[in-house]
Each structure stands twice: as structure tokens, then as C-alpha cells.
Symmetry: C2
Subunit: 341 residues, 2 copies
């Protein structure tokens, strides 16, 4: 009897979940219900046209509850220890009474068909922390799609009261600019090496970084870390001063031994104070919002266009004709847009 | 008298140039007139709406003259010696009777407002070679824009009879995928180092490469080159076999001493033979053309939308409202697309 009871109970719960309205989702998010937040993000990430309107409504509603959040982008090549760093840094923040959401942007997961990041098993402590929320990278067929979904996920997390958003990127090259376009502070993680660190570093990344943190500053590595820190400090001085008047810092930490972590948070707090006072914080968010608007317009135009069945069919026909070399890609595109069937 | 004659001659030429019709441009291109080809590319790169229709017509016409070309993408971090390599490799090809066009994709030049690549002064021999044509990276406000313009430039160069197109990319991360999407063969240039080459390399780039060439294989560097070559060969074997059945090769060369250059061309010729026989060459081009079609549709939709003055004005208003926080980016985008003024 008891067993049956549990079973039907589960069934009811399942049905109820499927029926959750936008209002239900929003109130769950506002009540700090992680399961509902996760479900809402899944809705946003869905590529099913049926979910589109509901997701749109949810975002519009969630946007009314914007909080005073700090959005921090974290990048670094695979192996630099991003997960361990976020585990240590995020735990430090929740100890300070902050609510931390960890999101990931990984366009390469669109190739491998699975996210390699944001894996909860790699952030065990944080995953169990009631004041932390971890979400892996959304799957999408384009970096643009991943970017849009991550931006909307930030909005949901902020509506849920998370006041520090950590956006992690795999650091394989395409995603840094996208993450930079949605955060207030951009942190580059590096390892100390044999002194040729500057060789492999991408120019654009150095320009974007508000801070470089040398990770794994522990054990026999400490001397190398000092050398690397000096080298990066010198290199950063070669760049023109930033619009936000902030001088990028070079710090070090040990995510394993949890040293240097509070110093990183203090530095970011200084950055927030400086850029709040000189209004760059707001200017930057405004620019980001304006770009978000323009990108959303593009997405909606595409969506609206391909929604029509006739266009879908015509597009398929043209793709076949391109394959058969009966038409050039350029002429086909002109036909579809200007003289659709 | 003579001097005046020259002057008025120049004036006539100038007026004539301004008046060149699509037909004039096309016949100049077909007659292997480099100046007209350059002018045509400038037309394509123009962001002035007045030039749009003419550029479109030119591309459509040029597409009718597609030749049997080979498109080769070349990437590598700054300092690897891309220009010197292209100088040596391109000259080798023109000596074999080929006509070589060198194009560049450099999205970072949109930030620095000037191309750092394709600089003719860095490829002196090739720049003077009657059978070579060098064009720097187009300026654009987006990688998408650069990509589109480069693709269209390839079409013009092929219509002009250039049968080998070298597309260079700066290798700072964003442009490799774009270049990979428009070439038949993707070559990664590397330097030999202290044995930690794999550390800095981006996973996605390794997966895309059809060949890795260790440059600067000369002097005291030869031993290091051998070690590096072995390391990369091993690493490449860890990747799953490619769809085109091609096993990526690791070669070495000295662009300065011009050794190993003919071997690289032989390898690419083998690749072309293999993929022509197993039809992957055509399959790949078809995929690329279909993607080009879809991207062009997106571009045209945007163009068509913002062409209307009312939309332009409404968009400006909404951007102001976003700045004043009177409206969310998402709601604003919906308004502009679904309920424009």
C-alpha cells in the first residue's frame, strides 16, 4: 500500500510539473526553489517552438525583478583549474552571505554534443551548498544561441536572488568575447610556467581581462608564480588605460589550499566601488543591454521568417538546388528573402 | 604641354573609374586586371547602402565563372611566421604556373581599426609577382561581416582566374572557425619549442587541422623540430578519424631557407586527389555553400528590416529607452519586430 502511495504521489508531482504555468515558474523562482529555477532554465534552453512563447513571457516577467548583482566572467585554458577555483571562490562568497550562481558558456559542446563544463561532480562542495546554484552550458547549434540562453539564464538567476553570477568559459577561443559581453568583471586564470607564458596568450583576451590570477600558487610552484606575476604585470602596463579607469591587477591564489581567495574578492569589490563611482558600471551595463537588444532583434527576425511553413519548404527546396548546383548560395538567399514562394 | 596631357589623362581615368558599371568591373576581372579586381573588392567591402545592389549584382555574375580552385586556410599564432611562409609557399605555387590570391580574415582589426595582416610590405616578392594578388582583411563591425566579405572576395578572385586561394587568419581565436568554413584544406603553422607545445594549443584548432607544419625548421632548431613533430603526430593520432578519410600530416619547413615547401604542396595535392576521389571535396563545398546560403538569408533579413526609415527611428528610440531603463532589452526587441511603429 505504502509503495503504491509513493508511486501515485510521484505521478501527481510529475503531472503538476508539466502543468506549471509562467506564474508558477516565476513564483517558484522568487521563492528560491532551485528545482523550479532549473526547470525554468530548461524551458529557456528548449528549442521546441511550442516553448518559445512561454519562455519569452517568463523572461519578460523575470526582468522586472532585477537585483543589484555582480556578474563575473572567468576564463582560462583547460587544465588551469577553473572548476577548483570556482569551488573555492564560490564557497568563500557564500560564507560571506552571498548567493552564487555558476553558469558556463561552452560553444564547443555543440560539437561534442554534451557539456564538458559546469559539471556538478567537479564542484562537490558548491553543488551541495544551499546558497549556490550550478548550471552547465546550454546546448545550441551556435555560439549566438548559447550566448542568448546564458544571458536569459542570468536574468532568471538574478530574479531568484542570486547576487553573484559566475560565468565560466572553456577558453578555447570563441566564447570569451561572448562572456565578456555579459559580465561586469572579466578574470583570466593562468598557470605559472617556465617564463614563456606570454607566447601562447591571445592578445584579445589580455585586452579584455580586468585581472589575471595565477592559480596553483602552492608548494614548489611559488617561485615560478612570482616570476610569472611580474611578467604579466609588465605586459599589462603595455596596454592603453581602460575606459573604466581600472588598472588590471595580477594576483595569485591556491584553489587547493584556499589561499589568496579573499584577496581576489577584495579586488573585485574595489573594482565595483571604483566603477560604480565613475559610473562605468552603469555605462557598461547599458552598452551590454543595447547590444542584447540588437542581437535579440536579429534572433526574432530569423524566428519570425522561418516560422512560415511556405518559407521552410522553399528553403528546403533551395538547399536541394544548391546541392545540385542549380543555383548559387547568394542567388538562392536573395530569392528566399525578396521573392519567396 | 606634355605635363598637362598627363594630368588630363589622369583625370579622364579617374572619371572613368568612378563610372565603371557592373559589366565593366566583371570584364576587367575576367581580363585579369588587378586594379579592377581590387576596385571590385572595395565595392563589396563598402558599407554604403548605395553600393549594396551593385555589389550583389557583381557577385551573382561572378559566380557564373567558378573555376576549379583550391582554397587553403592558414592559421597560427602571431610570431609563427605566417607572412614569410605565405611568401615562400605562394612563390612556389606561381613558379608551378598557378595563380595565387592571398586573403586575410582578421576580426580583431575591427577593434584596432586597421588590418594588421595581408600587409603587402610583409610579402614583397609575392606582391610584385604578376601571378599573385594580395588583399588585406576587410574592415567590418562583426566577424560575420568579415566572413561574408571574404567569401565574396574568394568568388571574385576565382572569377579572375586565381586557382589557389590562400586565406590567412591571425589565429587569435575567433576567426579560425570562420576560415575553416570557407576552405578545402586547413593548415596550422607551429613553432618548435621546449616540448610543451600541446599546452597552449586550442582543442578545436587541432580538430580542424588537415596538416600541422612546424615552421622555422632551420639552424640550431632542427632537433627541437623533430621532437615537436613526433609529439604532434602522436597527439593527432588520439583524434577520431576524419569524415574525409584523410590522416592529418605533420610536416616541417623553413620559410627562410625555402626547404620543405614543395613537400607541403605535394601533401595538399594528395589531399585533393583523395577527397576528389571519395567525393568529400564536393560534399564539403556543398555543406559550405548551404551554410553560406543560410548566413546570407540572415544578413538580407537584417538588411531588409533596417532599411525602412521608420524602423531605424523606432530602433533609435528604443535604444534611448533602454539607456534610461524604461524598457528591457528583450521587450524592446519584441516591440521592434512584432509591433513596429
Amino acid at each position: 500500500m505504502k509503495k503504491t502511495g509513493v508511486k501515485s504521489g510521484q505521478k501527481v508531482k510529475k503531472i503538476k510539473r508539466q502543468e506549471l504555468t509562467t506564474e508558477d515558474l516565476l513564483s517558484g523562482i522568487r521563492n528560491f526553489d532551485k528545482a523550479v529555477l532549473a526547470k525554468s532554465i530548461t524551458l529557456i534552453e528548449s528549442n521546441k517552438p511550442a516553448h518559445f512563447d512561454k519562455a519569452e513571457k517568463l523572461i519578460t516577467e523575470a526582468l522586472k525583478f532585477t537585483s543589484k548583482s555582480i556578474r563575473i566572467g572567468i576564463t582560462g585554458i583547460p587544465g588551469v583549474g577553473k572548476s577548483t577555483f570556482i569551488e573555492a571562490f564560490g564557497s568563500h562568497l557564500t560564507e560571506l552571505g552571498r548567493k552564487v550562481a555558476v553558469l558556463a558558456v561552452d560553444p564547443s559542446s555543440t560539437v561534442t554534443k554534451g557539456s564538458i563544463l559546469g559539471d556538478k561532480t567537479r564542484m562537490e562542495t558548491l553543488a551541495k551548498d544551499p546558497n549556490a546554484f550550478i548550471r552547465p552550458s546550454p546546448a545550441s547549434d551556435s555560439l549566438g544561441g548559447v550566448t542568448r540562453k546564458t544571458r536569459e539564464t542570468i536574468v532568471l538567476c538574478e530574479a531568484a536572488g542570486y547576487d553573484i553570477i559566475l560565468v565560466e568559459t572553456v577558453g578555447v577561443g570563441q566564447s570569451e568575447t561572448a562572456v565578456h559581453s555579459m559580465v561586469d568583471f572579466f578574470l583570466l586564470l593562468k598557470l605559472a610556467g617556465a617564463g614563456d607564458e606570454l607566447q601562447g596568450i591571445k592578445r584579445g583576451i589580455m585586452e579584455m581581462a580586468d585581472a589575471i590570477v595565477i592559480n596553483k600558487a602552492d608548494g614548489n610552484n611559488l617561485k615560478n608564480v612570482k616570476i610569472t606575476q611580474t611578467e604579466f604585470s609588465r605586459a599589462l602596463h603595455l596596454y592603453p588605460p581602460k575606459e573604466n579607469k581600472w588598472t588590471p591587477q595580477v594576483l595569485s591564489c591556491s584553489s587547493m589550499e584556499k589561499t589568496g581567495i579573499s584577496e581576489i574578492w577584495n579586488m573585485i569589490s574595489e573594482f565595483i566601488e571604483l566603477t560604480t563611482n565613475n559610473e562605468y558600471f552603469e555605462i557598461n551595463r547599458t552598452n551590454q543591454n543595447q547590444n542584447w537588444f540588437l542581437q535579440t532583434v536579429d534572433e526574432l527576425l530569423k524566428h519570425q521568417f522561418y516560422q512560415k511553413n511556405k518559407i521552410k519548404e522553399h528553403s528546403k527546396e533551395l538547399l536541394t538546388q544548391i546541392k545540385a548546383k542549380q543555383i548559387s548560395p547568394f542567388t538562392a538567399a536573395k530569392l528566399l528573402v525578396f521573392e519567396p514562394k
